[in-house]
């Protein structure tokens, strides 16, 4: 039990955070999937570990710097490439900007390589020697921090999107960019807000995931894949979708790896995704649809 529940919760939390970062951008841009998000995660994770090993700065500062790296990368991607591409390709759908984000994936991967090197950097877990035991489950302080952070971030983003003015602005712009422009809403600002949020969340994901397995410039693809799949399994229109999709994905990965062998997990995820897409395309958590006019 212990060997299953804790890893599922921990991996699920990391994946949910990555998926949430994708989702914010996806919703604010009206359907752009930013392939570079995994790279923001890597920049934060590698950056914080690199700083603490090279300079010996205290952990809160290196962690803050890591999150800052991810945020800068996300904002630079939006202002330098994704926003101009969205203006350029507005008539032909989201296709051009998406390809642009694939190029960004390489740009940030190489940036991470130039700044922090080629090899995986493994961070120190937070409060490494503190352990808990509750209701038969034993977990470390770091695992607890990961799970709690995911819950806090998910709830905060949900409240922000549903109940605050900037959050509603972001959703409105994503739903219908043209109508928002006509209404005089600050489209550019809403998108920048979304990328800011996505960058911070990706940064948190990176600094939390760094101590688990180590991050290398190429690790971004793993976050890209798990986040992408979790988002579409769970449903891309609701914050809860990211969490549910991530937990389902993590459960399959860990249960199948344990009982059938690691090789089977990719086949099972593929099969499950195809079945869900065919039978429940709106995802496991579907937004309540209003009547189309």
């Amino acid at each position: 039990m212990n060997e299953l529940v804790i890893p599922i919760l921990v991996t699920g939390s990391i994946t949910a955070l990555a998926a949430l970062s994708f989702q914010l951008i996806f919703r604010a841009t009206g359907g752009i999937f930013d392939f570079a998000v995994g790279q923001y995660v890597v920049l934060a994770g590698m950056g914080s570990v690199f700083l603490s090993s090279e300079t010996g700065l205290p952990v809160p500062i290196t962690v803050g710097c890591g999150i800052l790296f991810a945020t800068i990368a996300a904002l630079a991607s939006e202002t330098g490439a994704i926003a101009p591409l969205s203006r350029l390709y507005r008539t032909t759908g989201a296709f051009g900007p998406v390809l642009g984000t694939v190029a960004l994936l390489w740009v940030w991967e190489q940036t991470a390589r130039l700044l922090f090197g080629d090899r995986p950097l493994i961070g120190k877990p937070f409060f490494a020697d503190v352990r808990f035991a509750a209701t038969g489950l034993r977990f470390t302080a770091h695992q607890l921090i990961i799970i709690l952070s995911a819950v806090v971030v998910l709830v905060a983003v949900h409240l922000w999107l549903e109940y605050t003015r900037p959050g509603r602005l972001l959703r409105a712009v994503g739903d219908n960019r043209r109508a928002s422009e006509v209404l005089g809403l600050a489209v550019g600002k809403a998108r920048v807000l979304a990328f800011l949020g996505a960058g911070i969340i990706a940064g948190i994901t990176g600094v939390l995931a760094g101590p688990l397995s180590g991050l290398a410039p190429l690790s971004g693809v793993a976050f890209l894949i798990s986040g992408f799949v979790a988002l579409f399994l769970g449903g891309s229109g609701k914050t809860l979708g990211a969490a549910v999709g991530a937990l389902v994905l993590a459960s399959i990965n860990i249960i199948v790896s344990r009982y059938l062998g690691a090789a089977w997990k990719d086949y099972c995820v593929l099969a499950l995704a195809l079945v869900i897409f065919a039978l429940r395309p709106q995802g496991i958590v579907a937004p309540t649809k209003r009547r189309p006019s």
Partner: protein
């Protein structure tokens, strides 16, 4: 004299630039054995670019499995070479396996946005990579498989492979070029822009999307086989996810308006990758370079060269024309007599059908709910022969839903629609083929075609197949160079329709026309195939007085030949003037149906519109 020569040169370059470039690469590859491998790699990339040309450029779908499909082709050759079946049979077997995989993934994701295809295919790529590593007995694991390069016992030289690659590219480019120019290809293009519009001209968009993905997977598999033969070795690394991402850029870098762009794009890619390999941060520059290309050359390099050449050409030409006598226009002179004859034949058919059924369209008990909201409740009506039926009602009354359910864009919860005695089943495309044509509230046209070409697309309704095999054959037929290009501005039938509706400038690009012309073009597209019943969704919204008159004229003229017309609009005065009967909807319920004067005296209508009892 010099000008003449220059003109011929630029014209020739523009027309023959692609083949010329292919010959140059071939010559470069034949010169030296070191170059041969590089050029074969270039051809492999070009083939992969061509593989995604139809799904990505024509029908707007992003697939990330094309590296895996190439891998299937490569590994089939390597695996079968070791057995006594022989390497050659790996090529067709790879094509079949890749096609089957593409079919399954496309089937599961085909009704959804292209993101689901991207996720599904991303997982295919990962699962394939895992399979290669895990099934080491079959695939050799991380070390890959080495095999002797021979076909039926005869060794295969790299020179032979080079030539085979060039010929394959030549054939596929010409096939795609024909497809792009054909009516079918233009229909696929419309499908990439608007699925409902493509359905309304009778294209089963789900099946055509799947077919285009299968077609691409087959080409990708051939590319993989070529790569395997050229090296005598297959490795998991050759077909991993990064290749899948790279492929996406090939048609985009080269230019998406001609398949030759894939060759140019792949040359660029191979060259840049070679440079990148030679020094450290090469990939960073590469990423930035690709980004710059996407940003600044959104049409691709081949495109830029092509348009520069054609600008030069027209400059030279304008100077030349001044010195020459007036030459007659290039366009085909329309032959009204023939058009008239063809039209009479089809009109007669419509009239015969009309005579046999006095009530061409019957709707019984149509209901539709969205979540908890009822959009249509038990709507029944009959369309009488030759009549114009107007559907009116306040906002949210269910008018557009009624058209969507009748045409099959939305599936009704219950009820049936009977067209000329036949119960309509299936989706929008099948109903279009059965004889329902429609226009949309917001015109859904292809911005990259001309007005005339957009109108001509309506004719697809007359000869699109209903079966899988028929559709596949239709696509293949369109790839032969002998195929006629789609109807354009010079086609007599198009000209005739344009004249009737009152559109001038059939040669204009759709993107640069007015909203009124867009609406009229859609009506033209719906009418050109002589449908049994025409459904119009808010045809007058957003039009000026003179444009409204033209639409009314077109509808009035049309009613003389047709079985019936259904018009949904807000403009009640206008509808009262031209409609024989009005159907009034309120909250999804029919509250009145009859002659305009009767309808307005009905107390229910008074209440719905004026709030009076």
């Amino acid at each position: 004299m010099v000008k003449e020569l220059l003109l011929n040169l630029t014209h020739g370059l523009r027309r023959a630039g692609g083949p010329l470039f292919l010959l140059v690469t071939l010559a470069y590859g034949l010169r030296d054995t070191v170059n041969t491998e590089l050029v074969i790699l270039l051809y492999v990339y070009a083939l992969l670019g061509l593989a995604i040309y139809v799904p990505m450029i024509l029908t707007d779908q992003v697939s990330l499995a094309y590296a895996a499909y190439a891998g299937i082709g490569g590994y089939s050759v390597a695996v079968l070479s070791a057995s006594n079946v022989g390497a050659f049979w790996g090529v067709p077997i790879g094509v079949v396996l890749a096609g089957a995989t593409a079919f399954l993934v496309a089937l599961a994701t085909s009704r959804l946005s292209s993101y689901f295809l991207a996720v599904g295919t991303l997982l295919v790529a990962i699962a394939f990579g895992r399979f290669l590593l895990q099934q080491a007995d079959l695939t050799g694991g991380a070390d890959g498989l080495t095999f002797t390069r021979q076909i039926f016992g005869i060794p295969v030289s790299t020179t032979a492979l080079l030539i085979v690659g060039a010929v394959m590219i030549w054939i596929i480019v010409f096939a795609l070029e024909s497809l792009r120019r054909s009516e079918m290809g233009k229909g696929l293009h419309l499908m990439g822009g608007s699925r409902p519009a493509a359905e309304s001209v009778g294209l089963n968009t789900v099946r055509f999307r799947i077919l285009s993905l299968i077609f691409g997977a087959a080409i990708a598999s051939l590319a993989g086989s070529l790569l395997a033969f050229s090296r005598g070795l297959v490795l998991p690394d050759s077909f991993h996810l990064e290749l899948a991402f790279l492929i996406l850029f090939i048609p985009l870098l080269g230019g998406k308006h001609t398949p030759w762009g894939c060759l140019v794009g792949s040359a660029l890619l191979v060259y840049v990758l070679e440079v990148a390999r030679s020094f450290g941060p090469g990939k960073l520059l590469y990423g930035l370079g690709v980004l710059a290309c996407v940003l600044f050359f959104s049409g691709g390099i081949a495109e830029r060269l092509g348009s520069a050449l054609s600008a030069l050409e027209s400059k030279l030409q304008s100077k030349k024309i001044q010195t020459r006598d007036e030459t007659p226009g290039v366009g085909v002179v329309p032959q009204p007599a023939e058009a008239e004859r063809r039209e009479t034949v089809s009109m007669n058919k419509v009239r015969e059908a009309a005579a046999s059924s006095p009530r061409p369209l019957i709707a019984r008990g149509l209901s539709k709910t969205y979540g908890g909201v009822t959009a249509l409740h038990d709507v029944s009506f009959e369309l009488l022969q030759g009549e114009i039926l107007g559907v009116v009602g306040p906002n949210g009354a269910g008018k557009t839903t009624l058209i969507d359910v009748l045409t099959g864009i939305q599936t009704g919860d219950s009820g049936e629609v009977v067209l000329q005695g036949n119960r309509l089943e299936g989706g929008a495309s099948e109903r279009a083929l059965a004889g329902l044509s429609r226009t949309f509230q917001h015109p859904q046209l292809s911005g990259e075609l001309t007005v005339g070409e957009n109108i001509g697309l309506g004719l697809l309704r007359l000869h699109t197949s209903r079966s899988w095999i028929g559709m596949a054959l239709q696509m293949m037929r369109s790839m032969f160079p002998t195929v006629k290009s789609g109807r354009d501005a010079n086609d007599p039938i198009t000209i005739e329709i344009g004249r009737k509706i009152g559109i001038e400038g059939l040669c204009e690009d759709m993107a640069s026309t007015s909203f009124g012309t867009e609406k009229l073009t859609e009506i033209g597209r719906a009418l050109i195939s002589q449908p049994s019943v025409l459904l119009m969704d808010e045809p007058f919204a957003g039009l000026g007085k003179s444009e409204i008159d033209r639409v009314v004229d077109a509808v009035e003229r049309w009613r003389q030949n047709a079985l019936g017309v259904i018009i949904v609009d807000h403009n009640i005065d206008l509808l009262s003037g031209i409609c024989d009967r009005l159907l009034v909807l309120d909250s999804g319920i029919v509250i009145a149906c009859g002659r305009p004067s009767e309808v307005f005296s009905s107390p229910h209508v008074q209440k719905a519109y004026f709030g009076r009892e």
